[in-house]
Amino acid sequence: MSSPIAISSSAGKPGAGGSLRRARRAEARTARAFVTPAVVLLITFFFVPALLGFVLSLTNARLVSPQGPQFVGLDNFTRLFADPLFWKSLRNTVYFGLVVVPLQSGFALVLALLINARIRGINAYRAVYFVPVVTSIVVVSILWTFMYQRDGLVNHMLQAVSFNLVQGTDWLNDPATAMPAIIFMSIWQAVGFHMVIWLAGLQTIPGDLYEAAELDGAGRWQKFRYVTWPGLRATRSFILVTITIAALSLFSQIKIMTNGGPLYSTSTLVFQSVRAGYEQQQTAYASAISLVFFVLVLTVSLVQRFLTRDKD
């Protein structure tokens, strides 16, 4: 490692034991002062609200209320589990995750393989694939709401490429197509992000492994199966966890494109918790939904971690 500053190899230590201890104490004091701003902020805006979620879910807290919250036991959960909208939202959330996670990670890997070639103009392709990622999901959602109209761009394009055979539908106003349309758009927006992460993973695989495989007469598929795929293990589990968490947190698209409709066919857990906790000001009920959401995320992450664990 080259460095602009000369490196002194002999570490200087203060001479006497007393001054050493004093220096150590001063170092510890300074270090704690340095982490204090970050730690105080993380406690205030992460740990306290996260723990409050547990506590408030057992009370009748409202966002704005003259009275303090009162303990009500498991009432919120009883109500939640009897609420058909909750089960619908849970099902929609899981449905979105089950479709998006494999499709998006697979598509991202295909893109990364396509981009991982040393040819001219490759940076331009990569930049174009990446543009939707830097475009806010809010902007993407209003753009696609426009494109998904009955007489919108998507249907016109479908007609054009199918020579008028395919007549599109009113994508976002049909309970059967609203969620698939949002899934398609969400993958379009986010896939470039994971393409870049797969690409970084692909580049960590040493080139000599491919040369060795070629010498052994491996074809393209065999090289992928026996060199690329095993070499991507760390990247794979990272991508799986991040896509899953992002997918289960689905909110902005729903809020902008369908507001949970039609017929609650696109309501999700986060959407339902925002509706309860913000629009209806029922902080306690929203905390209960958030808690279920947290348990879902935690369970899925742990299962994924277990399945992709290092078996050596």
């Binding site: 460095s3 500053i5 002194s8 190899s9 200087g12 170092e27 704690r32 340095f34 701003p37 970050a38 902020l41 993380l42 805006f45 992460f46 409050l52 979620g53 408030l56 893109l111 396509l114 981009i115 991982n116 040393r118 392709y125 990569r126 930049a127 174009v128 694939y129 990446f130 543009v131 939707p132 475009t135 806010s136 809010v138 902007v139 209003i142 753009l143 426009f146 761009l153 016109h156 870049v196 992460i197 690409l199 970084a200 993973g201 692909l202 580049q203 491919y210 090289k223 990272f238 968490i245 992002a246 289960l248 947190s249 902008i256 918790s273 925002v274 906790g277 929203a286 958030s290 995320v297």
Partner: protein
């Protein structure tokens, strides 16, 4: 050590910088080019459609949908939609708010998170392991799991204001600038990124500076922070994107029009009769700042995403 070097090569390659190794040329063929071009259209055309439509009156947008003119700035081109945007919503105010909020979050975030990572990587003190564990633990919990309890909690927090020349405590952060900035300053992922990067800078540098009598803050400011440029770029870019794209949180925590950021502004366009031209103009307006930044610092952007993925 070998794996770390390989990983850095991956980041460098994903960011479009040269690496000695020759990548797999498997998809450098003519068929590969066709597929890559089709995909470029798939990702690029919707964005182009948005930019072009923002310049056309509504009737022309719809008339052009069934031909390639949908993607071309032809016909009755004008900035009338933009004039309409500024007439109907306080767009300058939204933009100024978002720029201010994002800039402050980035500056404070870089300072506080790098300082914490400095103390965690380069100084010896008791409690270091505990703090590190707590920070890592926050990485896997999505914001949406505690957003609603945080909303309740933010409504209780104290704030010091000056009224008639005298300091005065007020309670409740809702509907303010600070509620959009301060909760997002300390960030476990930023600390983690700095932590990984600072760990690669040799300790001898600090020790030499200690012998020369530099205090810890001076070492941080004059030696470590200047050397941590790539980590700062990554943290700044990711923090900026996050702050600029905030939607869920300001939607709930900010009611006053004067304090709202750009993304919440899209709500105004859905309230009345939908005028698609002005809506596309607003979408373009709030995307252009990010798009310009992305196209100017493309390598840094993609490198940031890539380096965010290379954790084990």
């Amino acid at each position: 050590m070998a794996t770390i070097t390989a990983t850095r090569d991956g980041v460098r390659q994903a960011a479009g910088q040269p690496v000695r190794r020759r990548p797999d040329r498997g998809f450098g063929t003519a068929g590969g080019h066709v597929v890559r071009t089709v995909l470029a259209l798939f990702f690029g055309l919707p964005i182009l459609f948005m930019l072009v439509s923002s310049l056309k009156p509504d009737d022309q947008i719809f008339a052009d949908l069934s031909s390639p003119r949908a993607f071309l700035p032809v016909g009755d081109i004008s900035l009338a939609n933009y004039a309409e945007v500024f007439r109907t919503v306080p767009a300058w105010r939204f933009l100024a708010n978002s720029i201010g909020i994002s800039a402050l979050t980035v500056v404070l975030g870089v300072l506080i998170n790098s300082l914490a990572a400095f103390a965690l990587t380069r100084m010896r003190w008791r409690g270091r392991g505990l703090v590190l564990t707590l920070i890592i633990a926050t990485l896997v919990v999505p914001f949406e799991t505690f957003a609603l309890p945080l909303l309740w909690w933010a409504n209780k927090l104290p704030w010091l204001v000056v009224q008639d020349g005298r300091p005065l405590w007020t309670f409740g952060w809702l509907d303010s600038y600070q509620v959009q900035i301060i909760p997002f300053v300390a960030n476990a992922f930023s600390i983690y990124l700095y932590y990984s990067y600072l760990s690669t800078i040799p300790k001898e540098l600090d020790e030499a500076a200690r012998i020369d009598g530099a205090n810890w803050f001076r070492i941080y400011r004059s030696i470590i922070l200047p050397l941590a440029g790539p980590a700062t770029a990554t943290v700044a870019i990711l923090t900026f994107l996050n702050a600029w794209n905030q939607f869920l949180w300001p939607l709930m925590s900010v009611q006053s029009e004067d304090l709202r950021p750009v993304m919440v502004g899209v709500q105004y366009f859905f309230q009345l009769d939908v005028a698609w031209g002005p809506m596309m103009a607003y979408a373009t307006l709030i995307t252009i700042p990010v798009l310009v930044l992305f196209l100017s610092f493309q390598r840094a952007f993609i490198g940031s995403i890539a380096s965010s993925g290379v954790k084990g």
